[in-house]
């Protein structure tokens, strides 16, 4: 019994309780299903807050560790090993925070097979939380691959017209990377005689030439998930076809699993290779930033616009991570959270209007602010947050990343930061272009179109406002007073950077 009462175990597997309850609720009791799922995800969020209260921010080590031998026969040494530290605490909270919000957003959007939907959603939460908490490579791999399955169903069953294509593409792309990582994991497990990441890091001394291969194998998995240019082509399809809640989780959490993977595994396990690869990663990140921004601007479909903006934003995160200094990494971690909030919010808002108009074409909208002032205002705030306006969350992260990248010894070239800064300006262009076309100017044709079929476009209702308010609070909080967030991660990041410094110095 002790096993299940550990905070992190409880946090990871609590959604399964919800799955179990959902099994016994008849499929036609849609509201009961929805409320159960929401309730369970809220309790899970509560557990994560409880974990936060027990989290000692000044301690750089793994905390609240749950560690048991799992498979220790036949030459295996696999542990059930969960732990949380400054690298993961915010991402865990982001996961448990976005899940109930996403579930609430499906209230009217998902009418078919509600039961299956909620079951898959809660299973997905188990997988995501597990990814961020697992400290044993084997356990991590299982959670990592497991997230694929429910997400595949969410896109494939409840998605748009090309959902099957998008779901399979998402699945195959992601799996392509992760199976190469599996081979590297097995190599590490044989070499180090353990799969526990902290032990492998302590042992160190992986031969330099092997390190690069292992680094590349892990990179294959994570770079596809992030996604880094030029491996991003699954992302627009998956985002556009996924149901709103799926897009929110995809952008908000699943992409972060990629960047988190770099932070948790690539950099500490293969420090020399990371330093060597840093300029290349910076190059690809910069291309991604500019490319994503440029392509966003060219989109006629607002959801696609937001999807490509993710490519650009995640480029910033990668740039910050591989600055390999404290500022860059802290900025990157915060930017992961920021992107989850802002882009998640954008997908939610796009979903809310789509539910009424059934179109996402930018050009048929116009003058929405007059008709739906609350919607317009919230959209404006979120857009500004996404493009990085000072005072809102996006600015803090991007600023720290650019500072870090600018002074980074590992990247070794300030041009990457300088060019990436252009990406911030380009973000302003595509975001404001979208806002202007949809919300300002003359009334778009879709307004009349909807009126002809019923009551016309309505403003946000209370449920939708309730979805947005928590996100808005965080957007302002991080924008105005980010210190508590940095405090949580700083000790762990600083120690990681310190452990890298010898490798960085050796290079330069």
């Amino acid at each position: 019994m002790n096993f299940f009462l550990q905070p992190l175990t409880l946090l990871t597997f609590f959604p399964l309780v919800g799955v179990l309850i959902l099994f016994f609720i008849p499929s036609d009791r849609k509201d009961a299903l929805r409320w159960t799922a929401l309730g369970v995800s809220l309790v899970t969020f509560g557990i994560s807050i409880w974990v936060l209260t027990m989290f000692n921010a000044s301690n750089p080590d793994l905390q609240l560790v749950a560690q048991y031998d799992w498979i220790t026969v036949a030459g295996w040494n696999i542990q059930y090993y969960l732990g949380v530290d400054g690298l993961s605490i915010l991402l865990v909270l982001l996961t448990t925070f976005l899940t109930p919000i996403s579930i609430l957003s499906t209230w009217t959007a998902v009418e078919e097979r509600v039961k299956d939907f909620m079951i898959f959603f809660l299973l997905l939460e188990v997988g995501m939380t597990g990814v961020f908490l697992a400290q044993d490579l084997f356990l991590f791999y299982i959670f990592w691959e497991f997230t694929l399955v429910p997400m595949y169903f969410l896109i494939g069953i409840w998605g748009g017209p090309r959902r099957i294509y998008a779901a399979i593409k998402f699945f195959l792309y992601t799996m392509a990377g992760s199976i190469l990582m599996l081979l590297a994991i097995l190599w590490l497990g044989i070499y180090g005689r353990t799969f526990a990441v902290p032990d492998l890091i302590t042992q160190g001394n992986i031969p330099a030439n092997v390190q690069m291969w292992l680094f590349l194998a892990f990179t294959a998995a994570f770079a596809i998930k992030v996604p880094m240019w030029p491996l991003h082509s699954w992302l627009p399809d998956a985002h556009v076809e996924a149901p709103t809640a799926g897009s929110v989780i995809l952008a908000g959490v699943l992409l972060k699993m990629g960047t988190y993977g770099f932070l948790r595994f690539n950099i500490p396990l293969f420090p020399e290779a990371s330093v060597q690869a840093a300029p290349w990663i910076a190059l690809f990140a910069t291309i991604g930033i500019i490319y994503g921004a440029a392509v966003s601007y060219a989109q006629a479909d607002v959801k696609k616009l937001v999807a490509y903006s993710s490519v650009s934003h995640l480029g910033f995160v990668m740039l910050g991570l591989f600055a390999l200094n404290s500022q860059g990494m802290q900025g990157a971690i915060l930017q992961m959270v920021n992107h989850g909030l802002s882009t998640g919010a954008l997908f939610l808002l796009v979903g809310m209007i789509y539910e009424q108009t059934h179109t996402r074409e930018i050009k048929v909208y116009g003058g929405l602010w007059k008709i739906t002032p609350i919607f317009g205002t919230i959209m404006l705030i979120v857009s500004l947050s996404s493009m990085g306006l000072p005072g809102l969350n996006g600015f803090v992260g991007e600023f720290a990343i650019l500072l870090g990248a600018f002074g980074s010894l590992a990247i070794g070239n300030a041009w990457y930061a300088a060019i990436s800064a252009l990406g911030v300006i380009m973000a302003a262009v595509y975001i404001l272009y979208m806002f202007q076309k949809m919300f300002l100017g003359p009334q778009g044709e879709v307004v009349d179109e909807v009126r002809r079929h019923g009551h016309g476009i309505r403003d946000l209702n209370w449920r939708e406002i309730a979805i947005m308010v928590p996100i808005l609070v965080l957007i302002f909080w991080i924008g105005l007073y980010p210190k508590p967030f940095f405090v949580l991660m700083a000790p762990t990041v600083d120690r990681l950077v310190a452990s890298l410094s010898t490798a960085v110095m050796a290079m330069h």
Partner: protein, 480 residues
């Protein structure tokens, strides 16, 4: 013949006698209640399983070293008997529904299982040959059991002709090995081969044995018969032979190669490497084009044979071979469970005259029969090698052995072909969950029990695989 000899083959004898008696008893069972024969066959298998398990830990060499009882044979025999039980459970309702209910069906199955068990216990190449015939001939008959259905007859004939052909290879290989070493005893071959360096004859002999068994386990390029036979044979037969024959074939190969042929490992490794790679690539690639579920599973079983073949590649490296062969055994368990489950779902959807066998017939299954669709999803995930299923654990075990042996290229081919396999296995899932349709199913309790139990085991054993891991790795200790 001493009591010790007899003890070595006790379960085998029991099953043989049981099968012979059942053949007679069946005469007195009225036509409309042949279900009793099935239950009696199952009872025989269960009793034999009990005897087999009671032998755990014993080691014995019987009949002048012709037959062996060791951890390896017990592990394989237990798996074969469970396969037999699953095979009977799948057949029970199926043969009735398809109008194939004749008592000899179950007797033939029992004889085939005895052949398979003898195969696992053979420690002399002559006994290997004997066992091969004993397991194959009942299967030829079973494949044609749906006569006068032309496809089933064709399957039986094809299987028979190619099977006889492949047996020829085995016999010729055995003859060459005898020529090279002067003995047919596996231990004798090992002793003679390691003292004598002239290995060409031995290598050719070993290669020919590999070719013969390559037919049995459906390895590329000896797989041509597989899709037609698997499609034409009654589904319950296919389920049984695609698991049982494969387990027995691999068991014999594992024992013979690990015990008799380590001295020619340098030559054989390349051949096995190529065989494994080809089988994985071809099986998986051709499976993409299939629209019939039976053919899909046929190619899938070819591809799965490729993964098991990976376990052979490092067999000459004494540090890795035990891990690798244990991984092979473990994967056979995972394959057998998953395979039976998947065929169970196929049988549930199959209707007379070969209808209900297209993948498109699975459309809408998730809405109408969520449990059946969920079970099929588990099997498909397991065949791909995704969590939380036994297939993932098995594949990881295999890949670990291959990486440990230093065969990185083969490991990469292995994972990339798994990726290809995801495409066609997922197509079944897509059809069940994401397309609309009105599938009709035939349910009966034994069938449901089989699919349900295999699905649950596939998931549960992946979370607590310790026991199986430990058993598989201790089972191979006797070989070295």
């Amino acid at each position: 013949m001493t009591p010790a000899d007899f003890y070595t083959v006790l379960p085998l004898t029991l099953l043989t006698v049981w099968a012979c008696v059942l053949l007679l008893v069946d005469l007195f069972i009225p036509k409309e209640s042949k279900g009793i024969t099935a239950l009696l066959a199952a009872l025989g298998l269960a009793l034999t399983l009990g005897f087999t398990l009671s032998q755990v830990g014993r080691e014995n060499l019987g009949f002048n070293g012709m037959v062996v009882l060791d951890g390896f044979s017990i592990f394989v025999n237990a798996l074969l008997l469970v396969s037999g039980l699953l095979g009977v459970a799948l057949a029970y309702g199926y043969v009735k529904r398809m109008g194939l209910e004749r008592g000899e069906y179950y007797t033939l199955m029992l004889f085939s299982v005895t052949g398979m068990m003898l195969m696992a216990q053979a420690s002399d190449l002559i006994v290997v040959f004997l066992a091969l015939e004993l397991l194959s001939i009942p299967l030829y008959v079973l494949a044609a059991f749906a006569r006068p259905n032309v496809e089933s007859e064709e399957a039986g004939l094809k299987y028979f002709l190619l099977g006889a052909f492949s047996t020829g290879f085995v016999v010729y290989g055995i003859a060459l090995v005898f020529g090279a070493t002067g003995t047919t005893s596996i231990m004798g071959v090992f002793a003679s081969a390691s003292s004598d360096a002239s290995g060409l004859l031995l290598t050719i002999g070993a290669a020919l044995i590999l070719v013969g068994f390559g037919f049995k386990v459906a390895a590329v390029p000896f797989h041509m018969w597989t899709p037609d036979v698997y499609q034409g044979a009654p589904s319950a037969v296919t389920a049984f032979m695609s698991s049982g024959a494969k387990i027995a074939g691999f068991a014999a190969l594992l024992r013979v190669f690990a015990t008799a042929f380590p001295s020619i490992a340098t030559d054989m490794t390349d051949i096995l490497w190529a065989l494994a790679a080809l089988t994985m690539i071809l099986g998986n690639v051709i499976a993409i084009a299939q629209t019939n579920i039976k053919r899909l599973l046929a190619y899938s079983s070819i591809a799965q044979a490729g993964y098991i073949l990976m376990a052979f590649v490092p067999y000459g490296n004494p540090d890795v071979a035990p891990v690798s062969i244990a991984a092979g055994l473990f994967y056979l368990v995972s394959y057998a469970l998953t395979n039976f489950g998947a065929w169970g779902v196929v049988i549930a959807l199959e209707k007379s005259e070969g209808r209900g066998l297209e993948i498109s017939d699975y459309a809408g299954l998730a809405k109408k029969h969520p449990a059946l669709a969920a079970a099929m999803t588990v099997f498909m995930l397991s065949l791909i090698g995704l969590p939380p299923t036994l297939g993932l654990v098995g594949k990881i075990y295999l890949f670990r052995a291959v990486i440990d042996g230093g065969f990185y290229g083969l490991a990469i081919i292995g994972v990339l072909t798994s990726l290809i396999s995801a495409y066609y296995y997922l197509r079944v899932v897509v059809t069940m969950y994401m397309k609309d349709g009105e599938p009709e199913t035939e349910r009966e309790s034994f069938l449901d029990l089989t699919t349900g139990a295999t699905a649950l085991l596939t998931v549960a054993l992946s979370l607590v695989p310790q026991f199986l891991f430990a058993w598989a790795s201790s089972a191979v200790l006797g070989l070295f």
